[in-house]
Symmetry: C2
Subunit: 413 residues, 2 copies
């Protein structure tokens, strides 16, 4: 099916909220083989909602709306959806029962505002809201479908996977398969120029390049009447690109350098400890994002001050004075101190100047030292990152992961 | 002006990239008093780009595009913009000079692909790309304006603030002012029902409610012919809402609980140390996000394993065995150990079960203990959060900040 996603919410147009819903839904819909045609965002304005729904339904088979289902007064979304499809609003018993259960489990009393939420376009399939109170629904008329999901991302996500995805899975006919080839250490432009001839020749599969801070991914997508044919179409192109870009390929699938690093740590049954200065817990936090991190993660130190570098990691005061907190020497002593404390198989230390202040002519903002010790191998690298404080910290994070990944690859085989 | 934002990039429709550009631009445009009407996202498809530009220009005075300026072959954005405005493409000397300078500073050789980037619609104002190579531009024809910005968020941001905002600032006539009232510890629905009569009576200023994980904000917006009148219109409504919701009001402006907490720490000249288990460095990282964190941040420990809780924070093995790592007792000993090590004015410890595994009947996923010590006051709270691993960690983070904020408020006056 061709599907468009319509987000309703003035807060999105005010720049108060990021539309992560469109991204999550698009990923899931593409995985099911549906095509996403448009993302459109409008304010809480019934007239604009009506004209947008009409336009999107004229080009797409289905529109998924997000937002506008909360108990606040400007929520005319449901009424407008019903009108667009030529349907009446009806009190939906099933939706109401779901809401009562939900409020009981919360130990919260329902208000009149909340009861309003059980009115849906006639004939709708209500979608249970696992994480909030507003029910969603799927309404159909004249071969067009509108599905309404709530706005808060965690409510939207749960409702989509529990109720809408099973409904959608049954509507797919053509089979689309894709493979991501993930690169590290090469820019978008250089990657493209190395495979220009392969891109020029693309028809089926197609190739698209996606660049993000620190990682470039190539998405190869094929289309066929069945899964096997689609996969067979993919393979030669994926192999050809891999051969061409070999030194930069870190892996396949919808993964990033952090996923690959955690996999490699687990495969080699290694333990990990961290000492962070400018990243200040960011690297630890990204490791502990992974459920099961307790298998490998032993300890992390956020040694932002010189005092803490000395007290906790035993970095010599003379080193800090002579070479400065941001220096290869300090980084080396941080690693040594971390290993003494933790005895972990992998030790990582980061010290740098994330800015915007603190830079000098000798040591500008963006100067970062990252040190990795994997068993007996120690590698210290100096980076000169560009970007603002957030970007510099993010680049430090990703390169920290990459240095762990790379050092394990080189030493643990 | 009425402005629409058009994002170009198949990766957005594939769900590979989040459209943060639309959010950032909307915030900035609203601040200038412009109205954002639509966000639209399309794939790398010149025909759809042309019809979308035509539609948006028929309802808006201006369209800002993001993306499609990179050196990859599917970048037909510029050509299509020129066509839509009835302009020819022209080699732009100024843009080319800017690019040469940029490449020199990178120490990178220009490719033929890159030179293509200096062709712009005739009469365009080129916008210098501080952070990348692709130049942006502003093109005007028939009283309609199209501004083209690059897709990578940090390139987009710098170009907007450096080149496009000064251009736009001169185009504002009506003055729009708004104030955010930020709440913590109350849900969207409850907040709304407490000020229902004020919302019902709204005309100018208007009131909008925005909910995010753990924080609700009310945006009060007025419109007048000059700044003083607009501000005068705001005040009575802001005061009335503040009075009604007083116990939950944490502050005003575009700030969150983290901003207020850091301000309060600095105002009171306090120092801070952290011991994190389930949040695993997330809280430290959010503190160190603030430039100048070195004034107050002393040290952070990521004590994810029982061993590290014992070794680093001196949590008794008997406590861990009898009460478990996620218990009030362990949380208390983490605080005490942290204070012994750091002697910081503020000590915060977090231990909890972020899931998805590790929960039991007695201690389900979402059980989190947060302890705060501010000088001689110790507060330990038990939370039962809902949501997935990411949400539980985020709620722990925000409530950790709030507990610091609240305890300082209560003890340091």
């Amino acid at each position: 099916m061709n599907i468009s996603i319509l987000a309703v919410g003035t807060e999105l147009l005010m720049g108060k909220t990021i539309n992560t819903n469109a991204t999550e839904l698009s990923k899931a819909l593409n995985n099911l083989g549906h095509t996403v045609q448009y993302h459109l965002t409008i304010g809480d304005n019934p007239k604009r909602l009506e004209s947008s729904l009409e336009y999107l339904l004229s080009v797409s088979d289905m529109v998924i709306t997000t937002g506008g289902l909360g108990p606040t007064q400007d929520d005319l979304t449901k009424e407008t959806i019903a009108e667009t499809l030529g349907l009446k609003m009806q009190f939906n018993e099933e939706a109401y029962t779901q809401m009562i259960d939900r409020f009981k489990s919360f130990n919260v009393t329902m208000t009149q505002n909340n009861k309003k939420q059980a009115y849906l376009p006639e004939g709708s399939i209500p979608m249970y809201n696992d994480k909030g109170t507003a029910p969603g629904f799927i309404a159909e008329a004249n071969n067009k479908i509108i599905a309404a999901l709530p706005g808060p991302p965690h409510e939207m996500r749960h409702m989509y996977f529990k109720c809408l995805e099973p409904f959608l899975a049954s509507k797919t006919t053509n089979c689309i398969k894709s493979e991501y080839i993930n690169l590290f250490g090469i820019g978008e432009s250089s990657a493209e120029s190395k495979i220009e001839d392969i891109i020029s020749a693309q028809t089926n599969p197609t190739i698209a390049i996606y660049a993000n801070i620190g990682q470039v991914s190539l998405r190869v997508t094929s289309s066929a009447s069945n899964e096997i044919d689609a996969l067979m179409l993919l393979k030669p192109t994926v192999d050809a690109i891999t051969e061409r870009l070999e030194p930069y390929v870190i892996g396949y699938g919808e993964h990033d350098i952090m996923d690959y690093t955690v996999d490699l740590i687990n495969q080699n049954n290694l333990t990990l400890s961290l000492a962070e200065s400018c990243t200040g817990g960011l690297i630890a936090s990204e490791f502990i994002k992974y459920s099961g991190a307790s298998r490998f993660f032993q300890r992390g130190y956020v040694t932002y001050s010189n005092q803490s570098k000395h007290d906790i990691l035993n970095v010599k005061n003379s080193t800090l004075e002579t070479f400065g907190a941001v220096s290869e020497e300090t980084c080396t002593e941080m690693i040594e101190g971390l290993f003494t404390n933790s005895q972990s198989d992998i030790c990582l230390a980061v010290t740098g100047i994330a800015g915007p202040t603190g830079g000098t002519l000798d040591k500008p903002v963006g100067l970062v030292y990252i040190g990795v010790k994997v068993k007996d191998t120690i590698v210290i690298k100096q980076y000169n990152f560009t970007g603002d404080r957030t970007v510099i910290r993010r680049r430090s994070l990703l390169n920290g992961f990459f240095m762990i990944y790379d050092t394990i690859k080189k030493t643990c085989n």
